[in-house]
Amino acid sequence: MNDIAIETRDITKRYGSAANGVLALDRVSVAIPKGTVFGLLGPNGAGKTTLIKLLTGIADITSGDARVAGFDVRRQSLAVRSRIGWVAAEVILDDEFSAWENLWLQARLQDLPDWQGRAEQLLRYFELSDRKTDRVSHFSTGMRKKLEIALALLHQPEVIFMDEPTIGLDVSTRRMIWEIVTGVHREFGVTVLLTTHYIEEADALCDRIGIIDHGRIIATGTPSELKSRVRSDVIQLESKEPIDPVRLRALPGVQDVRAQGNEWQIRVPSADEFLPRLFATIQTDQIRRISVEQPSLETVFLELTGHRIGSDEPMRDIRKFYAQVRRARG
């Protein structure tokens, strides 16, 4: 029990009434060990941010139990809130204040008597020392994000929640934030719960991942555990001439063959072993294009949910979801 930083048991969040409300989270149970970077991966509207709101005490849990840093989120809210840090999806700082004044305010809010040394250390770590007296409204997005992470670390929290830490950032800033998250986890030894809808982000940063869709956690595991759930490689083949599907299906190891005109999808246990057999059957000059898709979190997500993480289908669901939430809130 002591090794668990975050534990939820069947937590449910419903906006509005039981009859007409919207179920944002449906009996979510997770156990996140101390010292891990746990990623909640799912499309927009899946319930990721709602889970963070419940765990940080910003929204009330409809039913179920949750413990963070050893304390009950509902009954020991103040104890939880003094042990967690939070990094918002949109950077939230006081723009009228300097970096140092933002740290001062955070220290006040966390009731820290001796915070200056730690604040100086964090500013050095995030390479913001020379800008500490500048108003944060003059900071770049990357600097603002770094300061926000520094605020979250000021009181030496046990757990940090990062809600979509790289949403809306350009590629280089995103890479920088990835390095920071990894560095922060290593240097400061905190447990990190981050949400993302970027598959490569979850893959790059997280020790463990929970795949969330329509308010339910469908699978949890390390990235490699999740990928091993999808054992097949998919060979995408485009031929110059029509191929007889019977010839392809007859090849040893073929699990499934799908065709659309001269484009083929062949599912096999191992592309490495299958490709020589394929080339022995079809002459290579008949092949216009060939590629292999190996198990990735993208294919895992597709297999588990039936849709791709960024497809239009969930976007329609999200619009519907928010429309329902608005109606439920009146």
Binding site: R81, A88, I92
Partner: protein, 254 residues
């Protein structure tokens, strides 16, 4: 709680002083009343000096205008709260061991402090308009205290009414709804002796009347009316208590 309250209160004050436009507006609005309403009405007041208790209408008006200004600063407290909700800062505050009640107190005291900024400027303006002051230090102190009570009471009232709102327009609408009736049914701009009976009843309970008459008694040399000060302290206390509990229950985070 003290640490959080002091931090958030100072944030309110610092933000006010770093925004010269807001500061200017805070001071200019009551000054306009003094300059335009005061000057426009002074001849009439001179003719009815027995009703007004003085022939200098600006001396009569100053405590009234300062009292109604304490009402309007409440709106700024609400606007600042709604801004924090809209920009997510409320979440940043609440994901720390800070309670909603502390946020309410910081906003109420912050708005009240902003209101007090008006006092020296308005007194200086009244001096320029020819008003003479012969108040003792104690009288100055209790006058400021009375205005502070009014400001705390009204800002608490505004914050309680708008606790669950996230709409920018709400404080303005509430202000229009509250300010006009409270201002015109008080003794802030003219003596209440000429009111119809039903308005006199409203005026009897209206804190602006107490605040205006308390200040007027000091400016016109009649001394401290402790009962009025007591009423204003009670008003502040009741509103602060209501706002405290309303915020704990209904203050929306976003």
């Amino acid at each position: 709680m003290r640490s959080q309250l002091w931090g958030l209160y100072l944030r309110e004050v610092v933000r006010t002083f770093r925004n010269p436009f807001v500061l200017l507006l805070t001071v200019v609005q009551p000054f306009m009343w003094l300059a335009f309403f005061g000057s426009g009405f002074s001849q009439f007041a001179k003719e009815a000096a027995s009703e007004f208790g003085t022939s200098n209408y600006i001396a009569f008006l100053l405590p009234g205008v300062l009292s109604t200004s304490m009402l309007s600063v409440g709106m700024f407290g609400s606007m600042s709260t709604i801004q924090d909700k809209r920009f997510g800062f409320m979440k940043r505050i609440l994901i720390t061991p800070t309670s909603k009640e502390v946020i309410f107190l910081s906003k109420a005291f912050g708005a009240a402090t902003r209101g007090l900024v008006q006092i020296p400027v308005m007194v200086a303006a009244a001096l320029a308009f020819g008003v003479t002051f012969s108040l003792s230090p104690l009288e100055w102190a209790v006058w400021v205290l009375a205005l502070l009570f009014g400001a705390i009471g009204f800002s608490s009232m505004f914050l309680a009414i708008t606790a669950s709102s996230t709409d920018w327009q709400t404080p303005g609408v509430v202000s229009n709804f509250i300010t006009m009736p409270l201002m015109f049914s008080s003794a802030a701009l003219y003596p209440s002796s000429g009111f119809p009976v039903w308005m006199q009843w409203i005026s009897k309970f209206n804190p602006i009347s107490y605040s205006a008459e308390f200040g007027r008694s000091l400016v016109l040399g009649s001394g401290i009316v402790w009962v009025d000060l007591g009423y204003l302290a009670l008003f502040a206390g009741v509103m602060l208590t209501i706002g405290y509990f309303v915020s704990a229950r209904w203050l929306r985070v976003e």
